[in-house]
Symmetry: D2
Subunit: 345 residues, 4 copies
């Protein structure tokens, strides 16, 4: 079986497992007081060219929800794309962590928050009226949930609107590596230099195994995050094993190399199928995902052909490439799509 179901169905990069194994040496203080976690702080300050606080956490949902809770009060509103993971796939996690904050979808294309729509939504939100969920935060998903990548100017345009109204900017970077690889920019440019205040730094989807991280650029927000993480059961006592993985992940640009592999696989498939009759790519293929519209019967046939992928509707399939997606996988998928695309129901 050839598996394009999800980033999380895939393998971890061996380097992370080796680093985890190597961390199993001697004793070290718990709960992040160990040398590897200290090293992680320094390494991320270099990586992002600014002082940051980095908190390894078990999951991307934890990273997102806790980041948003740090910048949005219980009576606040979080603006996001309707397609955003926090809005569609996290089982009310942000509401839980924040004590009731509300997701407010704004018009978007390809999963990107539109600055003008954001401006209009905030302007009409009733800031200062106690009846109204108070505008507090914006959530950007980079790369987006439809496989597109915000340009740096696009991030900055959203952040400008947000900051002008006193909102903070959270980036859900579950696929931050894919975006940075695509943009060919620095991590700093892709985040705080474009106005991001707090970042969910994805690892799991890009060759990680059991952890992601929160990176805080807004010093105000970092003050109490340690307590919030602790009371949420999100602080590993043997933190060194988590920090070791993330250090390996960014060592020698491994993370970007992994992401480039996945991105290139997706791009290759896009080239092969884009012009096939009966095949429509519903969003730009700029990271590691393809969203392909075909006739229902064609998708049925594709599912029957040994290709694993998720159906997002009768006519819509999602295909996710990973760091180790092979040339054979690519050819197999493209070939199968070609064979199935023209089927009639």
């Amino acid at each position: 079986m050839i598996d394009f179901r999800s980033d999380n169905t895939g393998r971890a990069a061996p380097q992370l497992i080796e680093a985890l194994a190597a961390a199993n040496d001697g004793t070290a203080l718990g709960y992040g007081m160990d040398p590897l976690t200290a090293q992680l702080q320094e390494r991320f300050a270099q990586l992002f060219e600014t002082p940051v606080r980095v908190f390894p956490v078990p999951t991307g949902t934890a990273a997102n929800a806790l980041s948003l809770a740090a910048i949005c009060p219980p009576f606040g509103a979080v603006y996001c794309s309707a397609d955003a993971h926090i809005n569609t796939s996290e089982c009310n996690a942000t509401g839980f962590f924040s004590g009731g904050a509300k997701m407010v979808p704004v018009t978007s294309e390809f999963g990107k928050v539109d600055p003008a729509a954001l401006e209009a939504a905030i302007a009409g939100a009733g800031k200062g009226l106690a009846h109204k969920s108070q505008p507090a935060a914006v959530n950007l998903v980079q790369a987006t949930d439809l496989g597109a990548v915000y340009g740096l100017d696009e991030v900055a345009a959203v952040a400008k609107v947000a900051h002008a109204h006193g909102l903070k900017v959270h980036m859900d970077g579950a696929r931050f590596a894919n975006a940075v690889a695509r943009l060919g920019c620095t991590p700093a440019q892709a985040s705080w230099k474009s106005g991001v205040d707090i970042l969910s730094f994805g690892v799991t989807k890009n060759g990680g195994l059991l952890g992601d991280a929160i990176v805080v650029f807004a010093p105000d927000a970092a003050q109490q995050i340690g307590y919030h993480l602790r009371r949420a059961g999100l602080v590993w006592s043997k933190m060194r094993f988590a920090s070791a993985q993330i250090l390996a992940y960014v060592r020698d640009d491994l993370w970007l190399e992994l992401a480039r592999g996945a991105n290139q696989a997706a791009a290759s498939i896009a080239v092969l199928v884009r012009t096939l009759p009966g095949v429509t790519l519903v969003a730009p293929v700029e990271a590691n995902e393809l969203f392909i519209e075909m006739e229902p019967a064609a998708l049925d046939a594709l599912q029957g052909s040994g290709i694993l992928f998720y159906r997002r509707g009768p006519r819509l399939g999602r295909f996710v490439c990973r760091w180790d997606t092979s040339a054979a996988d690519i050819d197999a998928l493209a070939g199968a799509i070609g064979r199935c695309a023209n089927l009639k129901a």
Copy 2:
């Protein structure tokens, strides 16, 4: 330096890391839909001799707080020892997960909940009066936070009181392995056969690295736990890497072997220091911890001698043995205690 600071300053058992590495093969569905997690369910049903649901979670705090939230409503009371980890060391986690549930300490010795004190507390709690936090759950820590182990009859006596009043019983088994090893009983006897409804099954402190588990014996409580875990960001998408560790942990009784090592180290130290003048063991040494009272100057000197341990007060030190505590460590600690014990301030 010789480290008796904590279970969590120690190494993981290599078998868990090997299992984790071995799980990095091929693709598998995420969020616990993978074959290893399915295998884990079956394995734990065998281990506990009854159908169970087992949920790997990142930390013991998550296991405790979510277990309690599953059996205690927001307006409920959780009875526990004043020394219980949930009461002293989890930064209000149970309050967070449950939406406000209250910890009610009851009189206890050596960290054990006393059945008569529990009976009195529940009887005076105002059950049915809306002003009052409603009795809902009891929390037992096994082994206790003072290093003692409940006998099976002691667990059963507490559970009997709890169940008679309609309360459910949660066991914080961060050191469940140490307790089972000490008691020489089956896991079933130590848990549901003695009246436990839901168990935090500790792994991290006993040779684990990045995960523990919730084991649910009360089918009612299991229904919604999956959603609660998901909205709390506690479900790893690459769950197989967590399940693989826990499978390795219980394979061929590894968990009990590791616990026996730690218990024996503590017992050996107890034998060596028990009769020293100026040394008092404040609780029975039945698991892997020793709580030793000495003159402040003696503890100061011990801290200066290259032995790492936590001070729990001017006259109280805690010493934690681990699965890999060596004979040399044992001798070094006992010798140092002997040298320091008679010092006067």
Copy 3:
């Protein structure tokens, strides 16, 4: 000044104040254990022709949020109109009371939930998938936030979809009296006989002063509401003063008489302005509110003419009639609209 701003800018019906004053006699047990509150239970059982539990509460927001929290788990979704008060005007109250439940707006006209849109939304919600907010409740506002009234068949159609999927139905009856008066049906027909499980029974907007009520038709949901109210600080210790008001409110159909007054005022205005050039009623005028579109300059002039009302946008004004809206008020408003409607900017 002539005031059409809101229901809540108006006076209370004197009968409620007289009843409150009359309750100030002798002593009575607190927290709802008094005879008047017992009488209220019986009276509402008669009024609704079925056993109910009725809980007086301070505000409609408390009634809504607590009702929804009683039927929706923290990981649940509440389907509602985008215009619903819970979605637009309660500062995340439902999220607070429920521990994070999510509002999911479905397509609607005139503020009414559309059964087909509801069916589609539930069908696509991912029931049983832990990532997804789980469908749990539907919220209907009767009369709607745009001044329309659901027909009994319309309520039943929504409830049928909800119940078929295991969801419960909450009716926000802030203007329940206006709806019942309009429909000419019994309270039972307007509620549980049409499928409503729990009702926010509005009093404040229709001649009340400091209280509304929750009416529970679903016995399961009533079990724990007393505790939830108590922990939310929503149970008056001198409850008799609240119950007395509500008893007076429903005595001799006072509540319907008050509502008819308000409805008739709105209807009279509608007749007078409906055909004026430059005036558009954006929704049926079926209760006590009119939503009128006019040129911005016309609305500006109207605001300058001594008529008080709320602007809902450059071209949209909301005009609310109350039980004591006088014929003079009606004529003044209609006359002023007539004078202003044709103004050009």
Copy 4:
């Protein structure tokens, strides 16, 4: 029957009801934007001799829990007497409003927090350690739950300890009037001049009917209280009816006159029973409550004699005087106690 059960079994002062009725005139903006609520702000600034924010709320529990949530983070600890109402009688309300804050009882006599015990508790709390509930607030009940009154120096001593450690001070003034009447001081002296940051200003127990108030002296804490109240359904839309009551309550020192009546009744009873054999007053009678120990058979007989009061244990009865407790009531109670006190079981 002669009723000494509770403050809340009694009548309201007619002046409050008259004021409420008088407020039913014309129209006024909702949600506290009305002239009476504005007047209330000014009046309380005069009363407390400093700028304050005053928020009428439905209940004392709402006032307490929301006040504490305003000064204590979810991961915080609230120090209080074990007898404090927030700890014994509010069904986890503070945990709900704060998102999980923990009550930490400290040693106390007669329900008063002891400054030295507070100092020790904070010193040992582990400030700055993420495992530990972080010290955030102190709760004083004035008069206490055992009928005693803190002297001004006692309040100041507690506040000094609190402020030295960065904690804020909340006073549960459900019986603030009784305390001020007893102390013969100004409201300012009894509150912010002694170090109180935020006050639950009781009305209901002292001749009120359906409301109390939060008074905020710490400007920082007031910023967001309006939103928190709104999302908790605690803001009446017809606020004028609440504000009118509180204005009447403090007009011409009515509140102190009412409290003096209740205090004097309690004092008179104390004088009459204090020296009776078989009668022990377990706490100073300084406000409107008496806690009397007698033989169980004596209390049984007293309950059978037509006197209504609450039993707080086999040997302990609580007797509450109200503003309208009559000389006949006083004599009846004292006489009955005298007759019953010497009975043997």
